[in-house]
């Protein structure tokens, strides 16, 4: 439910605190801008599109990055562009759950949709994530405070365990908080796997700050639960060991399935980052970090992912769509962005604007553009348009660019 006054959204009900801000974001660019020396000038959409196409055409190794903030339809065009340009295409999962994907590629992913958790999960584990701050609605919609079909007394029926290196807000509402020494998640998860396998005798008095008794107690809670929903976050993907931490968590959950029902899922952010993974996968075979330099899709995160390509200065042009790498990438990456031609397609000026040669404002999916987004559990959702503006959609802008690029390569 949104309230519109003078073509601008002034209130958004029934959205979470984070969602609300998406509706009430800062003033948008009125039209495309181009950097001129130490300043900026306004240009037309036609000029902006043509110059972007020229920049991409000239590049020997263009990077097309972002994609999490836009709709599936635009993401599909992005993949076709990367293919025709023979560039590298990557999305923001390389800085959120890319490691989770690497782990899934090693051991799979016993998961489920959120409704399974809501209706069945009597034990919820949050590991290295802090949904109260990062996913404010998660607990009330699906876990701690949610009524489920088989759990009519939400709060009383469910147990919540939180494991983290610091006691976050989510840790405060847990039935049990597990304080892990930074960098110790892998060891703790290994220990739990051994315990679930009946090898309690091997466990030392304490593992990465967690006392043996607590490890046993957590394992017992899991073994006695009817349905375990294990959620993990950036605490596993970004810390030492990266994807191996996630792999270990998945293998713990797989092992638990020999005794009871257990599922595991990543707490994903960036509202449509999963859509980008899905699109990339059905079109190229790989969820992120795809290098088309040789015409075929090559995938090797750590080499073909945005951070690595930028920090190692391996690209010579960058198209940023619906994301803000200058705010979220290490400095070495941002400094390279400053050195190469960069175009940003985004409704709002952001930190990356400062490094753009051109920025093209577009409609916002779910506000003035419709489109598809994938929820973090893989359920695709139709994002409706609630406001009519003159801004073109990402799909439209990228579609025009792709049409021009195709002229270079007639069939």
């Amino acid at each position: 439910m949104v309230t519109v006054e003078d073509g601008r959204i002034v209130a958004a009900d029934n959205a979470c605190t984070l969602g609300e801000q998406k509706f009430l974001g800062e003033p948008r660019l009125k039209g495309p801008i181009q950097r001129e020396g130490k300043g900026w000038k306004d240009i037309t959409y036609d000029e902006a599109i043509l110059r972007t196409v020229e920049m991409l055409r000239d590049a020997e190794r263009p990077l097309l990055f972002g994609w999490s903030g836009t709709h599936v339809e635009a993401q599909c065009i992005g993949v076709h562009m990367a293919e025709v340009l023979r560039g590298v295409i990557d999305n923001t999962s390389s800085v959120c759950h890319g490691p989770s994907i690497l782990a899934i590629q090693e051991v799979g992913h016993p998961g489920c949709t959120l409704g399974q958790v809501k209706n069945r999960a009597d034990l919820v584990v949050y590991w290295g994530c802090n949904p109260i701050e990062a996913h404010p609605r998660h607990l009330s919609r699906y876990t701690r405070y949610a009524e489920g079909f088989f759990l009519p007394n939400d709060y009383l029926d469910r147990t919540v365990i939180v494991a983290d290196i610091r006691k976050t807000e989510t840790g405060n509402i847990a039935d049990e908080f597990v304080q892990v020494t930074p960098g110790g998640d892998y060891a703790v998860l290994s220990a739990l796997r051994a315990i679930v396998r009946g090898k309690r005798d091997i466990i030392p008095r304490s593992v990465a700050g967690v006392p043996r008794e607590q490890l046993f107690r957590i394992a017992d809670r899991c073994l006695n639960a009817k349905f375990i929903a294990f959620y993990f976050g950036l605490g596993l993907t970004m810390s030492r060991g990266k994807y191996k931490n996630v792999r270990n968590a998945i293998e713990l959950v797989s092992e638990l399935n020999r005794h009871t029902k257990a599922t595991i899922s990543a707490m994903r952010g960036h509202y449509n980052v999963y859509g980008s993974n899905e699109v990339n996968t059905w079109m190229t075979g790989y969820p992120f970090g795809i290098d088309f330099a040789r015409g075929i899709a090559f995938y090797n995160p750590g080499e073909t992912t945005a951070i690595d390509v930028l920090a190692r200065r391996e690209c010579d042009a960058c198209l940023v769509v619906a994301s803000d790498p200058a705010a979220h990438f290490p400095r070495a990456c941002v400094e390279h962005l400053a050195d190469i031609p960069t175009v940003v397609i985004d409704p709002y000026p952001n930190a990356t604007t400062a490094f753009a040669d051109i920025q093209i404002p577009v409609a916002v999916t779910g506000i003035d553009a419709a489109g598809t987004a994938y929820r973090m559990d893989g359920v695709p959702i139709r994002m409706r348009r609630v406001l009519k503006t003159d801004y073109p959609s990402d799909e439209e802008i990228l579609g025009r660019m792709y049409a021009m690029l195709q002229e270079d390569h007639p069939p």
């Binding site: 599936v72 599909c76 076709h80 293919e83 025709v84 994907i101 899934i104 590629q105 090693e106 051991v107 799979g108 992913h109 016993p110 998961g111 489920c112 949709t113 959120l114 409704g115 399974q116 809501k118 209706n119 069945r120 919609r141 699906y142 009524e147 489920g148 079909f149 088989f150 009817k226 349905f227 797989s254 399935n257 009871t260 029902k261 257990a262 599922t263 993974n277 899905e278 996968t281 059905w282 079109m283 190229t284 075979g285 790989y286 969820p287 040789r294 015409g295 075929i296 899709a297 995938y299 419709a370 598809t372 994938y374 893989g378 359920v379 695709p380 959702i381 139709r382 390569h409 069939p411």
Partner: protein, 566 residues
């Protein structure tokens, strides 16, 4: 108007009763016609075998589960990578190729229509999005109802009409084609890590049995006059001794439809197992086919296994977990709230493995022992038994005893004591292969009337011309030529356009999604049923109004509206 005249085609069109006649085929505006004008493009078929476009009545090519198979398998993607070329986009993958990979390879083999075997309604939008990137085939999706809460409640109340109303509403909402039951009841039990083990087991909480679900859904399907029958993946897939469950299921099926079967049982190879454990595992294809031969109301597909690497994926979550425990490889599972489940694991079928060898034999036995080819269709349950690119080899095996013997000599030596394959002399002929790969599919799916699976005037111009001169090839001896011939068409024509020439795809297909909308009176409209709406909004995590797949997701499409009893 786009017109083509195909001259000197050696046509086999079982539905029209044409068997190896040399004739011309005229195509105008996407349809087969009596004649075309002088300006028509002329294709000389040179006496090559010309069949209606291939139809796969059970394959997994699009949707959440298939895409997760890709997502988790970068090692599979390393095989089969091709760059963008001409009208063709880049492709990757062997057992779970990208959408373009599937579409181009199927098209190169002459396939023009595909039925995605399992679509979870909650995630239907995803399937339709991938259909849009599978441009060279018409697409249909069977909708999973095996663990649907509202259906199970209707079954418990013995309210077939309500079950039919739910099916009708759901099919129309998610733009689905037919009713799929995967391990009915078992996927709900798997929500608690459990399973059902016979058609009389009781599903936890819901207090219904798989048999009751199957029976109600068969009757509901006929009440809705759906083009396709209930499409079942029986309980106990892949377990020794499961043939009894399969026979019990077949025994439930009344003969309710004059135009087609009343039950389509899929990948029956995985359901025709004898023995009590893996140690006395054996084929029960004879028992299964005896039942099929007695029951014209049943059609099965093979679910043939071929040796090599592949990926198994099914809505049957508990079965995949059992496979994971056997193989210790990676395992994915995805339960879908209030509806169904799914699982995925990679497998390697090995010649030297006794169980795998027996499985390979069972699929062939089913096809060879089913007397009527219209009752046993050729599939691998792609990619579960093998990727569909192995179909030509299966055709070779069915047409040549010599080939079967040559292969048999390379598999586990104990296989011969567990199967009857070596004693089967039957070699299928060209006509029977045409039935098993297109005509039979069209009839079983109920799409003959919309012009599929035949080449008579009025039919859709979906045509496959293979570089095979059937008068000059002895399939029994020259099976390698048969395999080569079916691997790649000279021409694949779809909706009257040449879409593929010797494996090179030439157009952006933009083909049709076929879906079904039963006409249901307001009284049975679930969208206005307070109890249904209330439960929906309470226990799903999407609102009921956001659930239906919007028109935007259907590219070109054909809606079959049915007259129902509701």
């Amino acid at each position: 108007m786009n017109e083509i005249l195909i001259k000197n085609a050696c046509v086999i069109d079982p539905i029209s009763g044409i068997n190896g006649e040399i004739m011309d085929i005229a195509v105008s505006d996407g349809r087969i016609v009596e004649e075309v004008g002088s300006g028509a493009e002329v294709i000389d078929a040179e006496g090559f075998l010309t069949l209606p476009g291939g139809i796969d009545s059970h394959t997994h090519i699009c949707g959440t589960k298939v895409n997760f198979g890709r997502y988790m398998s970068p090692e599979d993607m390393r095989a089969g990578r091709t760059p963008r070329r001409g009208r063709m986009h880049s492709t990757s993958g062997y057992s779970v190729p990208t959408t373009y990979g599937n579409s181009y390879r199927y098209s190169g083999m002459g396939y023009t229509a595909l039925l995605e075997g399992a679509m979870a309604p909650l995630e239907a939008r995803h399937t339709h999005e991938e259909f849009a990137y599978t441009p060279l085939q018409d697409t249909m999706a069977n909708v999973l109802f095996d663990g649907n809460w509202a259906i199970m409640e209707a079954v418990r109340e013995k309210d077939t009409k309500r079950a039919a109303a739910i099916v009708g509403w759901t099919l129309a909402a998610v733009k689905g084609f037919g009713v799929k039951l995967t391990n009915p009841g078992g996927t709900e039990a798997w929500g608690w890590g459990k399973n059902v083990s016979s058609i009389t087991d009781v599903v936890p909480y819901f207090e219904v049995t798989p048999g009751e679900i199957i029976d109600t859904m068969i009757r509901a399907t006929e009440m809705l006059a759906l083009p396709h029958s209930v499409h079942i993946h029986c309980n106990n897939l892949g377990l020794p001794g499961n043939y009894r469950t399969t026979l019990d299921t077949f025994d439930l099926v009344p003969d309710l439809n004059r135009k087609r079967q009343t039950l389509y049982a899929t990948h029956v190879q995985f359901h025709a197992y004898g023995g009590t454990s893996w140690s006395d595992f054996c084929s029960k294809a004879e028992e299964i086919t005896r039942s099929v031969n007695e029951k014209p109301q049943i059609v099965i597909d093979m679910g043939q296994v071929m040796f090599g690497k592949t990926t198994t994926m099914t809505a049957d979550g508990p079965m995949e977990f059992n496979l994971y425990r056997l193989h210790h490889n990676k395992w994915s599972n995805h339960d879908v709230e209030l509806e169904t489940g799914s699982g995925i694991i990679p497998v390697l079928y090995r010649r030297k493995n006794l169980v795998n060898s027996i499985m390979w034999a069972i699929g062939l036995e089913l096809a060879l022992l089913t007397k009527n080819p219209w009752q046993c269709l050729l599939t691998t349950d792609n990619p579960n038994g093998a990727p569909f690119v192995r179909y030509p080899e299966i055709i070779g095996l069915l047409m040549s005893r010599k080939y079967r013997e040559a292969e048999f000599a390379t598999i586990h030596p104990d296989t011969e004591h567990r199967v009857s394959l070596p004693s089967i002399e039957r070699e299928l002929d060209w006509q029977e292969i045409a039935v098993m790969t297109r005509a039979g599919q069209a009839r079983a799916l109920g799409i003959v009337d919309i012009g599929k699976g035949r080449l008579a005037p009025g039919a859709e111009a979906d045509i496959a011309i293979y570089p095979l001169k059937i008068g000059e090839v002895d399939p029994g001896r020259e099976y390698e030529r048969v395999i080569e011939g079916f691997r790649q068409t000279e021409y694949t024509i779809k909706r009257g356009r040449i879409v593929s020439r010797r494996g090179e795809c030439l157009v952006w297909g933009n083909n049709t999604t076929i879906w079904v909308k039963p006409k249901i009176s307001e009284r049975y409209d679930m969208a206005q049923d307070p109890a249904f709406v209330e439960k929906f909004d309470r226990y799903y995590t999407v609102r009921m109004r956001n659930y239906p797949v919007q028109e935007e997701y259907l590219k070109r499409n054909l809606c079959i509206e049915t007259e129902t009893e509701l």
